[in-house]
């Protein structure tokens, strides 16, 4: 309801600056639910329950599809960290996703390494390493780099990787690397199906919780400052470029983890996986679901993939057009994504400190 409306009004009032009374009244209302992230945990709970029961309700081939979607949701988290929290426009997130995919595919093909405890950390490290390299180059100047520079730089990185993979015989050229051996624990092989699904879901939940912890920490507050006004926080003494490079690298690591799961789940990797199309796809997930909330990224991935799946089944010829129009509508009318239907601006940004002690103080004051 109106919560999001009030946010928009508040924003407009603040922008125009000629409705202080209205703005202040709205502010007071926002102040009242300060203690609370009330909606977000509910949304997270609902999504988790839905994800837990999904394989019980879905036919086998749909469980395979759902596994792919969960992996893409993990990938979407990586972009949300980078864009939704730190305001770094990365159009090259697939570079980390795909290079990790290629990396683990090579480990499996050339070295017969498929143990989950080796390949997943390896994939994560590959994503991290590439993100450190590219992020170091794009973000760590003496002076802040412009949004355009970073978005074109990441885009170029992704495009170049795509071309490189297509032309490199060792990586299988246009065809990529097919028939990757399954991921293993001891003698158990993870093949498509419920086991793989729950493995991936477990990883998503753990990574989600880690990200959630991070973005609500004092580091998350620094990220919020970075996103809102990078120049301002530099004047406070923050090493803004370092913060950016760090979160970019973390995003790369998460994308790498997702990419290695994807490679084993699909059983093959191909040049698109590092390229611009997949990079753009992840941007769409997050914009569609709602950036800066983590759960919005997950929901965005599920809905975009789910809708494409359903549309491509039922409207074989024109489904990309329908999907495109849908995405445009959401981005035009809900720039904060689907999640903004239920989540207000104040709760989305959240608060980073003071509340617990403050309430203690209030109690103390109320006592006598």
């Amino acid at each position: 309801m109106p919560k999001s409306m009030s946010v928009v009004r508040e924003a407009i009032a603040a922008d125009v600056g000629d409705e202080p009374v209205d703005a202040m009244a709205e502010g007071a209302a926002a102040g009242q639910d300060r203690a609370g992230r009330k909606i977000l945990p509910i949304v997270e709970g609902v999504v988790l329950v839905a994800a837990l029961v999904a394989p019980l309700l879905l036919q086998d081939y749909l469980t395979v599809f759902a596994t792919r979607v969960i992996i893409l949701a993990l990938f979407a988290l990586s972009f949300d960290l980078v864009w939704g929290y730190a305001g770094i426009m990365s159009f090259g997130q697939a570079l980390f996703f795909g290079s990790a995919g290629y990396g683990v595919a090579l480990l499996a093909r050339d070295l017969d390494i498929t143990n989950i405890f080796l390949v997943l950390p390896a994939g994560t490290m590959i994503g991290l390493a590439f993100a450190l390299l590219l992020g170091g180059f794009l973000l760590l100047g003496r002076h802040p780099s412009s949004v355009i520079f970073v978005s074109l730089g990441t885009l170029t990185g992704s495009y170049a990787a795509d071309r490189l993979a297509r032309g490199w015989y060792y990586l299988g050229g246009q065809n990529g690397i097919p028939s990757i051996a399954p991921m293993t624990v001891g003698s158990y092989e993870f093949s498509e199906g419920p086991a793989f699904y729950y493995l991936v879901l477990g990883i998503l939940v753990v990574v989600y919780l880690l990200c959630r912890y991070l973005v609500r920490s004092q580091f998350g507050l620094a990220l919020a400052g970075l996103r809102e006004n990078e120049q301002r926080i530099a004047f406070f003494g923050y090493k803004a470029q370092h913060l950016k490079a760090i979160i970019f690298a973390i995003g790369g690591a998460v994308a790498g983890l997702a990419g290695s799961l994807y490679a084993f789940h699909e059983g093959f990797v191909w040049p698109n996986m590092v390229g611009v199309v997949v990079s753009t796809q992840v941007v769409l997930y997050v914009l569609f679901g709602g950036s800066g909330t983590l759960i919005g990224a997950v929901i965005g991935a599920v809905i975009v993939e789910g809708v494409s799946f359903w549309l491509s089944d039922n409207y074989r010829e024109i489904w990309p057009i329908i999907l495109g129009v849908l995405l445009l509508l959401v981005i035009l009318f809900r720039p904060l994504g689907l999640i903004s239907f239920v989540l207000g601006e104040r709760e989305r940004v959240g608060s980073f400190g003071g509340t617990p002690k403050e309430s203690k103080k209030e109690k103390r004051n109320a006592a006598p």
Partner: protein
């Protein structure tokens, strides 16, 4: 040795010479007013001192170190703080978080990730908010504040890191008379531990709170001295009469 010494500052934007050998010297615990007609280069000089602009020529020293080539981050860490002319509080964050953001700027990465300084800084956050009469709005979004309150919040943020020098660019711009008076009151107590450079159009305000003044005209220093010296200065009076 003065706290801040800017000498021979030249700043050229294309064909425009904004500063032409301007200078500014500020001692410890001194409130220094920077005045002059519109376009005289006050804001540009502030930016050159704060690191938002790099001077074309000249030298800025701060606490006995040459900081001319320092980035804003390095200047902040050396103890210099700036309040921008345009309010730049973070509108979506609460007042509390705005102050905390400023206070934790020099916490280590480890402390930030594990939120280790959040508890320690709580009292300081509330003290800053109380000092600037904003404590009752602590958990409102900064966007909900009136213009004057946003200016105070921003001054509080600029002071949070306990700077040795605070640069204030038109702190009372757009304020009512009453708000100006309160701003003066709020600034007085910081004199014990902090110097101030203040750019301001409101000459009454400047006269009330500053110890010394520097008058700029066309990018050059026209006069510099105590408030009474400047008031008696013939050239300064002419400038203001001419432009008024």
């Amino acid at each position: 040795m003065p706290l801040l010494e800017a000498a021979g500052i030249k700043k050229i934007f294309g064909k425009l010479t904004a500063l032409d050998g301007a200078a500014l010297t500020v001692g410890e615990n001194e409130f220094h007013g920077l005045i002059g007609p519109n376009g005289s280069g006050k804001s540009t000089l502030m930016k050159c001192i704060a690191g938002a602009e790099v001077p074309t020529q000249g030298k800025v020293s701060f606490v006995n170190a040459d900081i001319t080539a320092f980035t804003p981050t390095e200047r902040a860490r050396a103890g210099m703080s700036l309040k921008f002319q345009i309010t730049s509080v973070l509108p979506t964050l609460t007042l509390y978080d705005n102050i905390l953001l400023a206070l934790q700027a020099q916490s280590s990465l480890f402390d930030l990730v594990f939120s280790r300084t959040r508890g320690v800084l709580h009292d300081q956050v509330m003290a800053m908010l109380t000092q600037f009469r904003l404590a009752d709005r602590a958990f409102d979004a900064a966007a909900a504040l009136s213009h004057g309150q946003q200016q105070w919040l921003e001054i509080a943020m600029a002071l949070a890191g306990k700077p040795k020098l605070l640069l204030l660019d038109e702190p009372t711009g757009g304020m009512s008379l009453e708000e100006r008076r309160v701003t003066g009151e709020l600034l007085q107590p910081i004199k014990k531990h902090c110097s101030l450079v203040i750019v301001e159009h409101d000459l009454d305000f400047i006269r009330d709170i500053c110890d010394r003044l520097t008058v700029l005209d066309q990018g050059k220093v026209l006069a510099s001295g105590t408030v009474s010296e400047i008031q008696a200065n013939q050239a300064v009076q002419e400038i203001y009469l001419r432009r008024a």
